[in-house]
Symmetry: C2
Subunit: 362 residues, 2 copies
């Protein structure tokens, strides 16, 4: 009999939602381990002990920074989600911007190597597909980056929440498949499973001492445990995917979602190019993954990116994020994650109206 748990039960069972374990429901941990192992052909295979379920990828990142960033220099990609910088700062580390790509959009291994040595970077954050630029790596580049991590004796936190939302037709990749001993992955149910408000994320590592012991302790102190409602909602979606994967099929739901997102991206790219925006993705191209499109401020607007965002908002056209918050000044981030055909039409008319109005007033 459990006389040790601090919860009320067996009173009104239909109303009760009891505590789940600190690192997640066992069935969910198992499903995530199998899904990643199968999706990315991981070797060694992941087991339930290699998975810590937590309150969104955000909690995973925040706890990993507390584990590894303290008093250390942490390399953040130029073009980074601003929570990385917050997490490093709150953990007592120092953020250093690094450039993964050269001016032509090539993976700049020599440059990265120099930056890591010069700045004494011991922890590198990778995020491919990248928020905000939509950049991703191909197989050879993943292998080369893994080699660099070994060469520089560097640990890598790889934020892979968009791992399988890539639109270049190539198979999705995880850095965990290339340098398992140096890469800790963070991912979540938010993007591929449409559940951001469920707050279910996870950390993956071949080192189960991290995922099963250290993070268990930290999660207990930080949030006690991830909520079971979101976990229960996620589990059947993973199981449906596993059914497809075990049968050697591409996961059906994910495949259809990717098609839809690709067509949203294509429509937004077409519109923005036609309206005079230049793309600011890898090699000056379009986003190859994620739900974001990075562009330069158009020539027809004379102000800064922040001023453009303000003008678009106050004209009722749309809300945007200026690139400064990602370390990419004079750019703008559009999200196409929620853009239906009707909204693309409305955005087109809105931007047209804004341009016409500015022309009149000059």
């Amino acid at each position: 009999m459990r006389a040790d748990i601090g919860q009320i039960s067996s009173y009104s069972p239909d109303d009760e939602v009891l505590y789940g374990p600190p690192v997640g429901l066992p069935a969910l941990r198992e499903a995530i381990a199998e899904l990643w192992t199968r999706s990315f052909a991981l070797e060694p295979k992941l087991r339930d002990l290699n998975v810590s379920v937590c309150s969104g990828a955000t909690e995973g990142l925040s706890l990993l920074f507390r584990c590894f960033a303290r008093d250390r220099a942490v390399g953040l990609p130029r073009g980074f989600w601003e929570n990385y910088a917050n997490g490093v700062e709150l953990a007592g580390g120092r953020s250093v911007l690094v450039d993964y790509f050269d001016a032509d959009g090539r993976l700049d291994l020599a440059g990265l190597h120099d930056q890591i040595e010069r700045e004494h970077i011991e922890l590198l954050v990778a995020n491919f597909p990248s928020n905000p630029t939509g950049a991703l790596l191909d197989r050879d580049e993943c292998a080369a980056l893994a080699g660099l991590l070994r060469e520089c004796d560097c640990l890598c936190i790889s934020d892979e929440v968009y791992a399988r939302l890539r639109y270049d037709g190539k198979p999705a990749m995880s850095l965990l498949g290339f340098a398992p001993e140096r890469v800790v992955v963070v991912s979540s149910a938010s993007k591929e499973y449409l559940l951001p408000g469920a707050r279910v994320g996870y950390v993956l590592s071949v080192n189960s001492d991290l995922t099963d012991r250290v993070l268990r302790k930290l999660i207990r102190a930080n949030t006690a445990s991830p909520n079971v409602l979101g976990q229960r909602l996620l589990l059947p979606r993973l199981e449906a995917e596993l059914t497809d994967l075990r049968a050697g099929r591409e996961p059906q739901f994910l495949g259809a979602l990717r098609e839809e997102l690709k067509s949203r991206r294509d429509a937004l790219v077409e519109l923005l190019l036609r309206r005079g925006f230049r793309l600011a993705g890898r090699a000056g191209g379009e986003a190859q993954g994620t739900i974001f499109l990075m562009v330069h401020v158009p020539k027809w607007f004379s102000g800064s990116a922040e001023e453009f965002a303000e003008a678009a908002l106050s004209a009722g056209v749309c809300s945007l994020v200026p690139g400064d918050s990602f370390g990419l000044p004079e750019t703008l981030r559009f999200s196409f994650g929620g853009m239906t055909t009707e909204q693309i039409g409305a955005l087109d008319r809105g931007l047209g109206g804004l341009q016409a109005e500015l022309k009149r007033s000059n």
Copy 2:
């Protein structure tokens, strides 16, 4: 149009659970503010801005320690939930055990004053009803403690997750009603609403700069936002209570729950006294609140509290928490939160069997 949010929407609406705000759904913040204002006759009244919803009381505590404990001495009650000590340590503070009560169970204001001055305590944790001892304060004691906080220029984090689970027939109290400018309250949906696995907690302060700005930023970095599934489950329960409170009635669900818990406590007290345990609550008495009962190791067992817990576990009687983890050695914590009449019977037989077996083997 929102082109700034990092989520996928308008694709498969029935499957989507979209992000909620970092400090909680507006309707939930409002309901919590009104419920606390009405339940505890708070003055000034709380508004939605005075409420930060977060991922359980645990996240609230953890973030408050990060706000207020760094490089400071923090007074924890002797008999404390172990997460307080973890939170203080992770925030870079120093825990100091303080005694709220003297040997006769009286609130020891002079002793507390001395400890606060001597140890330079700037932050005091209060937890009434108390986990693990079940101790609570009456109205005069709350007022006296509020006076002490002012006198010593001390901030207080008051963990009130069991606020209305008190069995002495007196009205529930919140320290926020006595020293609003010095008390920050943490509470949750876990106990009174039977939703520990939903992970919905909240922080209350008359200083909305803390709840609406500082904690918004910290929650964003720590977990992004609390899950909306649990918030949606909690909201109608609060609304049902508000209907009762507005009509001047005692909340019906809570009243019935309290009666049930009181009868579970009474049955456990009767059983344990009969089996030779001495109670270790305030003034050596029974728990007046919470779902816990603290007892001394019975005379018929010659070992330590840890050894008793191990013996009870390995004999299949029950799992218990030894008091060491609360700073109360040689005691044991029983939870009656899940104890049905049948389980009380089984526990009775189990303890009887354990005692008989020990007698035989000696």
